[in-house]
């Protein structure tokens, strides 16, 4: 009685090539899994993603499903803990036998799930912009790679004539990696980084950092602070006499949701860099916003991660329909070039690195708590998670290329 035997028996007879896949494709519905934090610190953000995922599934189901099968959602709570994400992902794949999993938010949750998906040869659709330097054959990254968010933001600052940057971020992986990109960019583009500060997550004391900022002579701030810290930071920033006109702050993690929580008077006129705003003027977006508000309430704004999650379901649908199969290997093989007219504009899957082509927008926070585009890239930017195509980033990509 070896365990391997037992597993083999357990494995269903779908005849798929995946060693342990047990996806049941015989019925008229197919299971997919969501894993989002419904409790813990990340619940506030991740629940928005969960909602838009549901919206996409409902739309698809009412339009005949995928390959004629209705989608049957199994959801699990990641509890804001990476270890739980890994556990739940495993449960979704091995116990629930879902065809694909959508979700995750923090990089740590993705990193925790990655080995699970690779070992079981399953699929994860990860909706968030992140620090890059990763590409797994079992994950599709539908948020921005660094070159689709950070680089355009810097291009914009450069264009506006800013030369001295001050970097402030929460002490975790995305800000740190993002700032490495910023520093490399600055060096290659005649800009100067005059300060780089990190605060522990949830930190609310910014007096010292803002003092440093004031005395650094910076003419722009690149902000990668996370969540609540932004409130304290912007209040302190304002109280110290700094203004968006003199020293603008460009934020990488403040979306429409956060603007409301920070208080619009604290961030009025500040900049953000994303691939989607609620205010985007396209037919797809108008419909998306309208449907979302109808479903979840008029006061609920839509944001980049939500849009990206919504899009990810449609991209999977596109891949499956192209492959005409739910089989993971076939879906992966079919992925390259799949497109979707998303609210943010047309996106396209890169079969090589599993990221997608996205358009970048710089926005300014307005009185209405919404973000209005002030600059946009010339069409979708090809994803480059390792920044291989940028000269100034040679040192960055070199260290990762084993």
């Amino acid at each position: 009685r070896t365990v391997a035997d037992k597993e083999a028996l357990d494995a269903s007879d779908t005849g798929s090539s995946a060693a342990s896949s047990c996806v049941d494709t015989s019925g008229d519905s197919i299971k997919i899994g969501f894993v989002n934090s419904m409790s813990g610190t990340m619940a506030i953000s991740e629940m928005t993603v969960n909602k838009s995922l549901h919206m996409a599934v409902d739309e698809i189901n009412s339009n005949g499903g995928v390959l004629g099968k209705k989608l049957d959602v199994v959801e699990m709570d990641g509890k804001s803990e990476p270890a739980v994400f890994a556990e739940k992902a495993r449960s979704l794949i091995e116990k629930e036998c879902v065809a694909a999993v959508f979700g995750g938010w923090t990089s740590s949750s993705r990193k925790a799930m990655l080995p699970v998906f690779e070992a079981d040869n399953a699929l994860l659709f990860y909706p968030l912009q992140y620090e890059g330097m990763e590409s797994s054959p079992n994950i599709f990254y539908t948020g921005a790679a660094p070159n689709q968010q950070i680089v355009p933001a810097l291009d914009y600052l450069k264009e506006q004539g800013h030369k001295k940057l001050f970097l402030v971020g929460s002490d975790y992986v995305f800000p740190q990696t993002a700032n490495r990109v910023v520093k490399a960019y600055a060096e290659g583009n005649g800009m100067e980084v005059v300060g780089e500060e990190y605060t522990p997550m949830g930190s609310t004391d910014f007096t010292t950092i803002v003092n440093k900022l004031k005395f650094s002579g910076a003419d722009a701030v690149v902000n990668t602070l996370n969540g609540d810290s932004n409130v304290a930071f912007f209040k302190e920033y304002k109280a110290s006499g700094l203004t968006a006109d003199q020293v603008p702050v460009i934020s990488m993690s403040i979306a429409e949701e956060e603007v409301a929580a920070i208080g619009v008077d604290n961030v009025l006129g500040q900049l953000t860099a994303w691939n989607y705003y609620q205010t985007l003027d396209s037919a797809e977006n108008k419909k998306f916003v309208k449907d979302f508000k109808a479903k979840y309430g008029a006061n609920k704004p839509t944001s980049d991660p939500m849009e990206s999650a919504y899009t990810s379901v449609y991209l999977w649908k596109g891949m499956v329909e192209k492959a005409k199969s739910f089989d993971v290997d076939k879906v992966k093989a079919a992925a390259d070039g799949v497109t979707f007219d998303a609210p943010e504009g047309t996106v396209k899957v890169d079969g090589e690195n599993h990221h997608i082509y996205k358009t970048s927008y710089i926005g300014k926070i307005g009185e209405d708590s919404l973000i209005h585009t002030v600059w946009q890239s010339d069409g979708p930017i090809a994803p480059d998670p390792y920044l291989k195509t940028y000269d100034w980033a040679a040192s960055l990509s070199a260290s990762v290329n084993k």
Partner: protein, 294 residues
């Protein structure tokens, strides 16, 4: 260099925040031995009170004043409820209160999430407090100045109550020897309730004040609680004077250490300072020697 003065102000301001957060704890921990892990959540209750007041009252100045009073009462009543239902039966095992109140804090956090939602909200401050004030050519947060003054007022008031009033003597007597206080004619039950009400109420005041600086969410209190406990421990349990010195020293230390290093190092340094400090004064800064073995 030009940063000396602003950094001193920053340190004092941080100190006053620590002090405000620790003041109620110093009372309930020092006098009653209750290690109230839910203190942070009482602060959260105060902060949410500020939020509610600022959304229903037009004048933000009035809203803040009302919130300070109502926040005190709301948090105080929460504390009173906790004391009457649970802590009263645990007088003989103070260490256990730490875990019970941890449970309470879990419940209160979830409750806040269910009532106010898990996304952060913010209380609109009176306009005067959102503007910078300029002192000797430097701009500072008016809200921080307000908090600094408020903390001084609270400390002075608490000190006066404890030191000079019959109630204060009763609180201290009960804190020290419950049976003896009882046979000295003090209704220890009532005194305990009053003490806990005051201590929790102070948490509410702290919450209202700190809502001027931060966003308010269900984990509002967790930001402060560990450091507040450290202040109490470093200052000497039940010692107001110690708590005052400890919070300002730690506040200043943190901002000065943070200056050449980083915020994380500053935070870690504060912890280590306290551990090392207890090497020299295991009973805290200000301690009362007793001849008892135990």
């Amino acid at each position: 260099m030009g940063m000396i003065f602003p950094q001193i102000v920053a340190g004092l301001s941080n100190g006053s925040i620590l002090l405000l957060a620790a003041l109620g704890l110093s009372l309930t921990f020092g006098q009653m031995g209750v290690i109230n892990n839910a203190h942070g959540e009482f602060m959260m209750a105060g902060a949410y009170t500020a939020y509610v007041m600022s959304s229903i009252i037009g004048s933000k100045t009035v809203a803040l004043a009302v919130a300070l009073v109502v926040g005190f009462i709301v948090a105080g009543l929460l504390g009173l409820l906790l004391d009457v239902t649970l802590l009263e039966r645990m007088r003989t095992r103070p260490l256990d209160t730490l875990l019970v109140t941890f449970g309470v804090s879990l419940v209160l956090q979830q409750l806040a999430r269910d009532i106010f939602g898990s996304s952060g909200v913010y209380a609109q401050a009176p306009a005067a407090l959102t503007q910078p004030v300029t002192l000797f050519g430097y701009s500072f947060s008016a809200a921080r100045l307000f908090i600094f003054l408020l903390s001084i007022v609270c400390v002075a008031a608490l000190y006066a109550v404890l030191k000079f009033t019959p109630l204060g003597r009763q609180i201290r007597a009960t804190g020290e020897n419950r049976d003896l206080a009882e046979v000295s004619g003090i209704s220890t039950k009532t005194v305990d309730h009053v003490t806990f009400f005051l201590g929790s109420g102070l948490a509410g005041v702290a919450g209202v004040a700190l809502s001027l600086l931060n966003s308010i969410s269900y984990n509002f209190g967790t930001t402060f609680i560990v450091q507040a406990f450290l202040v109490v421990v470093a200052g000497g349990v039940g010692q107001l004077k110690g708590a005052v010195i400890a919070s300002f020293v730690l506040g200043l230390a943190q901002s000065w250490i943070e200056l050449p290093t980083s915020a994380s190092v500053g935070q870690v340094a504060v912890f280590l300072i306290v551990v090392l400090f207890l090497q020299f004064r295991p009973q805290g800064l200000v301690s009362i020697r007793s001849r008892n073995l135990a």
